[in-house]
């Protein structure tokens, strides 16, 4: 099962290599529709579709007016959605500081409709920002310069804690990374220095709160930043979690 999953990920990445990746910083745009609003972004005169307004249970957390957003996505083939070329997968990271120029709300148009958003499974989907290779391992992906755990990522941590307790494991290895992003214009954004430590601390605190003994948690913070390529950058901002099984007891020879 794990091998099949690994193959799928390789195929996904290979497909991305052939696709056009885009990374840019812009003001997001919200478009009203007859149903739910959809979120767009403009880059070099083209409009891209990011996703729909949904609930906290969905994988796509919409951007914020009054803030710029880092958009990292792959240009998808097919029809325009909500007036924009869809980016799939897409990661949007809201910048913290306020930019009041980011205030565009487009009115609804008769011909533009928001697509229905199918509810995605909690984790593990090809574009989900949580990946698991089995009950003992999870990788959580984060927005740029952010340590916020979405409902999906926090649920994954909870499942891992449950697995730790049920399997009577001895240790959970937490490895936190700081990432970077190469924009399509060549600029490079690097996350703040202490963000990996903040991610590790947050996940650690949650695991302890869920009953995992602090002594069972091994934390590694990776300070180096990998060289961004404009393709895999959203997957560089991560925390990996791995439950280590109890070492088999070696019988003592008489």
């Amino acid at each position: 099962m794990s091998r099949v999953r690994g193959l799928l990920l390789v195929l996904l990445f290979a497909a991305q290599l052939n696709a056009q990746n885009l990374s840019f910083v812009t003001c997001p745009i919200v478009r009203d529709t007859k149903t739910v609003p959809c979120w767009l972004a403009e880059y070099k005169g083209e409009t891209y579709y990011l996703g729909n307004q949904g609930g906290v249970a969905q994988d796509f957390y919409p951007p914020q007016l009054n803030h710029e957003v880092l958009v990292e996505g792959v240009v998808a083939q097919g029809l325009r959605v909500c007036g924009g070329i869809p980016l799939r997968p897409v990661k949007t990271s809201v910048f913290l500081e306020i930019n009041r120029a980011c205030n565009t709300i487009l009115p609804a148009e008769d011909e533009i409709e928001a697509p229905q958003s199918p509810q995605r499974p909690p984790t593990g989907g090809a574009t989900s920002w949580v990946r698991s290779d089995g009950p003992a391992d999870s990788t959580l992906y984060f927005d740029f310069d952010n340590d916020f755990l979405s409902l999906h990522t926090s649920t994954a941590v909870e499942r891992l804690a449950q697995y730790f307790q049920q399997s009577r494991a001895s240790e959970i290895q937490i490895t936190a990374f700081r990432g970077s992003s190469k924009l399509s214009n060549g600029d490079v954004l690097i996350e703040q220095r202490d963000i990996a430590a903040a991610r590790a601390a947050k996940v650690r605190d949650i695991l302890i709160g869920l009953g995992v003994p602090p002594t069972a948690l091994k934390v590694q913070v990776v300070g180096e930043v990998r060289t961004p390529d404009g393709i895999n950058d959203p997957w560089s901002r991560k925390v990996t979690l791995s439950v280590k099984p109890v070492e088999p007891v070696t019988p003592v020879k008489p």
């Binding site: 919200v30 009203d32 739910v36 609003p37 979120w39 307004q53 609930g55 906290v56 957390y61 919409p62 951007p63 914020q64 007016l65 009054n66 803030h67 913290l96 500081e97 306020i98 709300i105 916020f148 755990l149 979405s150 409902l151 990522t153 926090s154 649920t155 909870e158 947050k202 605190d205 949650i206 709160g209 869920l210």
Partner: protein
């Protein structure tokens, strides 16, 4: 149906809450429940108010208040819990009641204790002007230590830039006193229907912060964090202890048996309107299933709004009823389904819903029967932060509340919609956490018994339900019609 009415002067009737209450009589010791009065609180009783009548249900039966720690003064200032949580006011306190007490006692009632029943304990306490915020807006002073105990290294500094009461610059009580204190002014919350207030969100997580919910230190179980305006006390036991010290000026700690009795009483009392002057009997058989205290007792807590189970259940039975009842049913539909752009509300827009989000009232007010947020419900609606606050927009208008200038550190995560310099009359949750993202965040209150406990909002700025609806209409550019406003007001009034 058993009905017991006492023939006195104001409007109290003891009756079965399942039917219409017709008699109007009084029992002054219940209309204003004096601390230590020692009278019995019946299982079911109603109180008249401007909108109709409020019902109180003690699910465990009549309460003998003699010696009961909720009703007896335990501290040094003569107050009891009941002083600020009056049955006639839905276990809260209406400003009309406060004014009546001032007139009846010439300001001598323990309600007006200097510690928090006045604008500033250093003012001459015999003057009405020294209690102006309590008398005009129903506000009690809440003095909170700065920096907060929870965060000795807060993300922002506090500067007092306007101090109409003088308390925040007071040498004894102020920010630069020996015990640096920030004083804000807030309404007391209803001590009723608490199973709904205390029911935690599903699971262990606070979805708004991406961290675990706080836990009850006694049980280790997650708590709702929805009880107080700033969520500083998360259990009834912690709240009772702090109220004993802060509001009753008690020394030491409550005894365990006292705590147990206070919690037991608070956990079984329900309050809701049972009669409305326009809609008439709210508790009739086959009526809307969400009205009246008996339905509050029956329903389960911790249920999320869904089409199958809307927040206050359905009003279908009233859609073809009298004109007023049809208006209430339309108000319920507006509450559930009328979308508008919810914009710049920290801890709503900033938690994954997007800013703006096209939503209806019930998306945030989503807990069945209470209208609170099932997740921890502290949000910066904007009532206390400039420029959307409820206070005067310009300097030349007299302001009643203090104004603080908060400046966030450069390395802190700023408030998502107001940035790093924020003017506020109440920093809300941020006075507990010390976080910039929490500035102005106030826990939303329950919707029950509203007709019995004006004014509204934590700062008492909405004198009536129209002013409350008007605030939302302005804040979110809802463009409600006059009829829609009327429908919403009628709907809120019957809860």
């Amino acid at each position: 149906m058993k009905k017991v009415c006492l023939t006195l002067s104001s409007f109290i009737c003891l009756a079965g809450l399942g039917g219409l209450v017709t008699a109007q009589v009084s029992q002054p010791q219940l209309q204003w429940f004096q601390a230590g009065a020692g009278v019995e609180l019946p299982k079911e009783l109603t109180f008249a108010n401007a909108g109709g009548r409020l019902g109180i249900l003690n699910a465990d039966g009549p309460v003998n208040t003699k010696g009961h720690p909720f009703f007896e003064p335990l501290g040094i200032n003569g107050r009891a819990c009941v002083t600020c949580h009056q049955p006639s006011n839905a276990m809260s306190l209406a400003v009309d009641t406060i004014r009546e007490r001032w007139q009846a006692t010439n300001g001598k009632d323990p309600l007006f204790a200097a510690i928090d029943g006045s604008d500033n304990p250093s003012l001459p306490q015999d003057r009405e002007t020294s209690h102006s915020l309590l008398l005009t807006r129903g506000l009690f002073r809440v003095g909170l230590p700065w920096p907060p105990a929870q965060n000795p290294n807060p993300e922002f500094t506090v500067e007092v830039v306007r101090d109409p009461t003088g308390v925040n610059r007071d040498p004894i009580w102020g920010l630069k006193s020996a015990k640096p204190t920030v004083s804000v002014f807030r309404r007391p919350r209803p001590a009723a229907n608490l199973k709904y207030v205390l029911a935690p969100d599903n699971g262990s997580f606070n979805v708004k912060l991406g961290v675990l919910l706080d836990k009850d230190p006694a049980t280790g179980k997650p708590v709702s964090m929805n009880m107080m305006a700033d969520a500083r006390a998360t259990t009834l036991a912690i709240q009772a202890e702090s109220a004993y010290r802060d509001h009753q000026e008690g020394k030491g700690q409550l005894r365990q048996d006292q705590l147990n009795r206070i919690i037991a009483f608070e956990s079984q009392v329900y309050a809701a309107q049972v009669f409305d002057n326009g809609a008439k009997d709210l508790a009739e058989a086959n009526g809307p299933g969400g009205l009246g205290p008996l339905n509050l007792l029956r329903e389960a807590a911790g249920v999320l709004n869904t089409p199958a189970k809307p927040v206050f259940l359905t009003f279908d039975a009233w859609k073809a009823s009298t004109e007023f009842r049809q208006s209430v049913a339309r108000g319920n539909e507006l509450f559930l389904n009328r979308t508008f752009w919810v914009k710049d509300v920290a801890h709503i827009n900033s938690i994954g819903l997007g800013n703006p989000a096209k939503r209806a009232c019930a998306v945030c007010h989503n807990a069945v029967m209470s209208g609170m947020d099932r997740a921890p419900g502290w949000v910066d609606l904007g009532t206390t932060n400039y420029p959307t606050w409820t206070e005067p927009k310009t300097w030349n208008e007299p302001g009643e509340l203090p104004v603080f200038k908060l400046t966030c550190r450069a390395d802190a995560r700023p408030h998502p919609y107001l940035g790093r310099i924020i003017y506020t009359s109440d920093p809300g949750r941020a006075l507990i956490t010390g976080k910039c993202t929490d500035i102005g965040a106030i826990t939303m209150g329950q919707f029950r018994g509203l007709a019995a406990r004006a004014p509204y909002f934590s700062n008492g700025s909405a004198r009536n339900l129209r002013e409350l609806v008007d605030y939302y209409d302005r804040r979110f550019d809802m463009r409600l019609t006059t009829q829609e406003k009327e429908d919403l007001i009628n709907f809120l009034g019957v809860l």
